[in-house]
């Protein structure tokens, strides 16, 4: 059984039909990426999975359990954590407090401590800046913090929304290396990206979204070599 099974979901913003029947699945241990242009519905798909918006039709199941009618906080409790688009760290809280907030739903003190060590090991920069207010971090550090905060929930499924947004190329490389490492440690990742080249090069499988529909899917390598993808998203003629 797939860890996450999204089945023909239709999501609306008022009268706007944003997702027109998306079906994807994520298996345990995978990195799956959704790529597509602005407005294709990538973030809406993530937000629908998180329960921030609810689908009008279709089902979402997490290891067989239907979650598409649950409020957002209950989905978090079932092990789905998100690093939202634009990072959105708690600017007036310190780095350490941000990470604590990530473990909000958890009660196991030992596990929280272990995961804090894990996050600091992944991002030593955060450890140096534990006591600093998150709003004063650089963009790259804030992205590390957003991912670290999501990891503190010890999620079964980690949702990453455009982690490369607005970062210098060297930091993009660092972030993607870390995503690979997080996955290698056993966390399943669903990654939404505009930077298709980077995303496809680390993903096991990928879906291409266009105006609310899945138009292509395959392994990361297949899509990297797909002429349509090359033309539309990789800028290769």
């Amino acid at each position: 059984m797939a860890l996450l099974q999204v089945d023909d979901i239709h999501t609306y913003y008022g009268a706007i039909h944003a997702l027109k029947g998306i079906s994807i699945h994520v298996d345990k241990g995978e990195i799956v990426t959704l790529i597509g242009a602005n407005g294709a519905g990538k973030s809406t798909t993530l937000n629908t999975i998180c329960g921030v918006v609810h689908p009008r039709h279709g089902t979402i199941t997490l290891e067989g359990e239907e979650i598409h009618r649950l409020p957002a906080h209950e989905i978090v409790m079932r092990g789905v954590a998100q690093a939202p688009e634009g990072r959105r760290v708690f600017g007036r809280l310190t780095v350490a407090e941000n990470l604590e907030m990530g473990a909000f739903t958890r009660k196991d003190k030992e596990g929280i401590k272990r995961d804090l060590e894990r996050v600091y090991a992944l991002f030593p920069r955060l450890k140096e800046r534990q006591k600093q207010l998150a709003g004063t971090l650089s963009g790259g550090e804030q992205q590390m913090l957003a991912i670290g905060r999501a990891l503190m929930a010890n999620p079964r499924l980690l949702l990453l929304d455009e982690p490369s947004m607005g970062l210098a190329p060297i930091l993009v490389d660092l972030i993607f290396d870390t995503i690979k490492e997080i996955n290698a440690q056993g966390t399943t990742v669903l990654l939404v990206e505009q930077n298709a080249l980077m995303a496809l090069s680390i993903a096991h499988r990928a879906y291409v979204l266009e105006t609310g529909n899945i138009v292509l899917s395959g392994t990361g390598k297949e899509l990297l070599n797909n002429p349509e993808v090359m033309k539309a998203y990789l800028g290769v003629e």
Binding site: H73, P84, F90, G102, R149
Partner: protein, 548 residues
């Protein structure tokens, strides 16, 4: 060698902004003229601060001189550099400009009748401004005085910061102590010697504390925890004894502290809603009104349609319950609203509640504009004491319970929820926080405390009218927590003392209360946005990187 050259060039680059000094002086002049024309100087001229020397009106003018000249002296150079002795000249210049502008006002006022527009532009004002010496002499004197005051304020900028802070505190303490003396003990200000002693005392205490306070704190921290706890207990007992002894000041001071106390109680509640949870509630008076009216309806013998006639104590839990329920009910429709939208809706809610109580529709039940009277006292006072003196203990109990609840909540999981929600609702939700529960809990807790405030208010006055529950109450409470320091619990106490207590003491002040509120709020937002006694987090946020 290179380093010296560098620092020298840096020194040379410190430009002197004389235009800014003049500008600040001009602003000071405008403020002084304004204060004169709205009548504050005249109205407060009757109240002596230092016998034979200073009246409250003059103190206000003096404050303008010192504050603006000090600002001018600081503006002479950029933020980092010190102007050195030149700051005295800058201060004197600003003080002189203020005096010149006031002098111009006097000259113009004596040629043209300004009273058609400014009823306070009276001969009495000219007399006060010319120090009673007539036009040419008095005006020269005023200018000389302005320059001297400005120079003193400029000199203040030269002092090391610890000493400067101590001297400023001493300067502020003199009029406050004098006003307290006049209001509470029917004195007539303080004598010149007394003022000097007060100044010396507070300056010395402040300076002394700033030099040994840190060490003392370290030494206490080094003590074994048992002794630390003992010290803490001694400290708290002293505070408790002081609070318990307050009504001994007499019936009139008791009435003032009761009023301050009710504002502290409401401030603690609103602090939860606005300070902790970040929900800007401008209709906070609604719950205050509901608490008061619940008490009125349940206890007053005037209410014939519901002949329960409970005692105040029996009605209190019901009033709290009404607060909780109405807080939740208001919360439900505004769950989706944020920031300014929320503020407007709650503002409307506050007015609706007042208008309902005022309406003809409910007149048979709650008395309309006649309100409800004959509300019983909570506790009959013992022989020789007034109702207001006894009421303080109820107020105090309310404050203690409210402060306890607020502190516990702040550092609990719920407090954490509120903080995260205040920072970013969406992400808070994504962290697994139940926004509905978290928001409603904030509204309900705040409303309950406001309802307790209303219940006490009702028995304090023994009568309630719809007009006691206007928008201004909400704004006052909000101003209290802003001035005190958003999110800070001791800040509420200080804010209420400054914004509710002081104006009560200065009766002549009443008509200028809003004017002063405005000025104080603008000044606070510019110079000390974190409030008088800020929460550690806000201080960190606004002054990160600065020396503390």
């Amino acid at each position: 060698m290179t380093a010296t050259t560098l620092s020298r060039t840096a020194e040379k680059e410190t430009t002197l902004h004389w235009s800014r000094v003049v500008g600040t002086g001009l602003i000071g002049g405008v403020v002084a003229i304004y204060v004169g024309l709205v009548g504050m100087i005249e109205a407060l001229a009757g109240r002596v601060v230092i016998t034979g020397l200073l009246t409250t009106g003059q103190v206000i003018l003096l404050g303008v001189y010192l504050l603006m000249s000090y600002q001018a002296a600081q503006k002479l150079t950029g933020a980092d550099a010190k102007a050195g002795p030149l700051s005295v000249v800058a201060g004197a210049l600003a003080g002189l400009i203020i005096s010149i502008m006031l002098a111009l006002l006097v000259v113009i006022g004596q040629q043209i009748n300004l009273r058609a527009m400014f009823i306070n532009a009276s001969p009495r004002l000219w007399e006060l401004l010319t120090l009673g010496r007539g036009v040419p002499t008095g005006l020269v004197l005023l200018m000389a005085l302005g320059a001297v005051l400005g120079a003193l304020a400029g000199g203040l900028a030269l002092l090391p910061s610890r000493l400067r802070r101590a001297v400023s505190l001493g300067l502020v303490a003199v009029p406050i102590v004098s006003i307290l003396n006049t209001a509470l003990f029917a004195g007539r200000g303080v004598s010149a010697l007394g003022a000097l002693l007060i100044f010396a005392f507070f300056t010395a205490i402040s300076y002394g504390w700033s030099s040994v306070g840190g060490q003392a704190r370290e030494r206490v921290a080094a003590l074994p925890s048992g002794q630390q706890r003992l010290l803490k207990m001694i400290g708290w007992s002293a505070v408790a004894l002081g609070a318990l002894a307050l009504p001994l000041l007499g019936p009139y001071p008791s009435e003032i502290i009761d009023t301050v106390g009710i504002y502290v109680l409401m401030g603690l509640g609103l602090n939860i809603v606005v300070g902790f949870a970040g929900l800007l509630d401008l209709g906070y008076v609604a719950f205050f009104a509901l608490g008061a009216y619940t008490i009125g309806i349940l206890t007053s013998p005037e209410i014939t349609w519901l002949p329960l006639h409970l005692t105040w104590w029996e009605a209190l839990p019901i009033a709290i319950l009404v607060g909780v329920i109405s807080g939740t009910l208001l919360g439900i429709p505004v769950l989706q609203m944020r920031g300014d939208y929320l503020a407007i809706v709650t503002l409307g809610f506050g007015e609706i509640i007042r208008l309902i109580f005022l309406s003809d529709w409910l007149k048979p039940l709650v008395g309309g504009s006649n309100g409800i009277t004959r509300i019983p006292r909570a506790v009959p006072p013992p022989q020789g004491f007034s109702d207001q003196q006894v009421l303080w203990y109820i107020v105090l109990a309310g404050i203690v319970v409210a402060a306890y609840i607020a502190t516990r909540l702040k550092y609990s999981r719920i407090g954490r929820n509120w903080m995260a929600m205040r920072e970013d609702e969406d992400v808070a939700q994504a962290m697994g926080i139940d926004l509905v529960k978290t928001k409603l809990l904030a509204f309900a807790t705040g409303a309950a405390l406001s309802a307790v405030g209303g219940a006490i208010f009702a028995t304090k006055l023994t009568s309630i009218y719809p007009h006691s529950f206007n928008l201004l109450v909400s704004i006052n409470v909000l101003a209290v927590i802003i001035v005190g320091g958003m999110g800070s619990i001791p800040g509420v106490l200080v804010g209420a003392l400054a914004l509710v207590g002081l104006p009560e003491l200065l009766r002549e002040f009443a008509e200028y209360r809003l004017l002063v509120y405005g000025a104080v709020l603008v000044f606070m937002m510019l110079k000390r946005p974190e409030g008088l006694l800020p929460e550690a987090r806000r201080k960190l946020e606004l002054h990160e990187g600065e020396e503390v």
